[in-house]
Symmetry: C2
Subunit: 190 residues, 2 copies
DNA sequence: ATTTCATTATACCAATCGGTATACGAGCTG
DNA sequence: CAGCTCGTATACCGATTGGTATAATGAAAT
């Protein structure tokens, strides 16, 4: 792993652990075992570091979502596989996903928030599209596709917070994922 | 309004807008039209400022939750009134509630996160308690009370993000609130 | 052997960070 | 008037912030 990648990895860990603003450039390069000019040789600024992270890691998630959607499954199966993609991604790229989650809820004036929003918005567009294309199956949604998409990702993220932090075992079972989607579709009575 | 309150109000706005870490003490006192020693006369530190905010504003929300729970309503009506309390609070104390939401999702090492967690945990405890005490009505929940509480607040917060940012009119209608709770209880098919 | 180019470090920048030592002035009390 | 407390400002602290000018490296190409 060359310095370029090491820097990115260390930046991700420190952005996640300390927060983007609180993490210092000095701290990042020390962890990477290099000095500041080296970092500024590869990335134009601290913000550029974040942007590179989003570019690299974000593409992975978006690609997997598109992959599921291209499979033309029936609606519920599609939601189920999307949930699986998210929970899997949230576990394998824990630092990145939770960093994005934090930035999404951070102040809209923050530069880090602005850098993360295109990636986050793109996700929501894709999920909204899932509900739009399911219109035939679901019937008239009264334009609530966006609301459903937000609710769906909201539930997914909540469960991620609960099951992704504590025990690292068997929290990604297919039954668990099915239960999450089922709760979203049918509520808690069932 | 004396300086003590002005400082708190300005700190809240800047913590919300810039984020806790990015907001400078200098910036806060300039907005309040005073100088740093005045702020440090009333509050022991920047973190103390945040703690004072949580103490003051947080108590308002917790008190309203307890008020609903003391009314001994039937389960669904209780959830409905809790949703109402949250959506109302999120609108009237927008800066504070969204600041807390951001801190909840921020890195666990951050001092601001640690300062906010007792307040946030207290909320979840109260909501979990609602589900626990509804056990007779809901039947065996297989220990999923915490999961339900997280899901419930998750849905509430999602809707708050959607309806609290855009138009400021008629988003708090009773029908809308009922729809949110209904979706949580019965899912999106209904 | 020399030039070239990508990569890295030394040493520095002005600006800002959170926080404070000290003193000044207003108002109350003796 | 003297003394005391509350509230506030001037001026400063060391540390750290993000960022850079410059030069030394080492390997490959001529």
């Amino acid at each position: 792993m060359d310095n370029r990648e090491v820097i990115l990895q260390c930046a991700l860990e420190l952005f996640y652990r300390r927060g983007y603003d609180a993490a210092g450039v000095q701290e990042i390069v020390e962890m990477a075992g290099i000095t500041k000019p080296t970092m500024y040789y590869y990335y134009k600024s601290k913000l550029g570091l974040l942007e590179a992270l989003i570019e690299e890691k974000g593409e992975l998630l978006l690609h997997r979502i598109l992959e599921v959607q291209s499979k033309k499954l029936r609606f519920e199966e599609q939601l189920y596989q999307l949930a699986k993609v998210y929970l899997d991604f949230g576990r394998r790229e824990h630092y990145f996903y939770f960093l994005m989650l934090g930035l999404m809820y951070s102040s809209t004036e923050s530069e880090a928030h602005k850098a993360a929003m295109p990636f986050i918005s793109r996700q929501y567009e894709l999920i909204i599209d899932t509900f739009v294309r399911a219109g035939d199956y679901l019937g008239n949604m009264n334009g609530r596709q966006e609301q459903f998409a937000i609710g769906f990702l909201g539930v997914i993220n909540c469960y991620m917070m609960v099951y992704n932090e504590k025990s690292t075992e068997n929290m990604l079972s297919d039954e668990k994922i099915y239960a999450v989607v089922h709760q979203f579709l049918h509520g808690i009575y069932s």
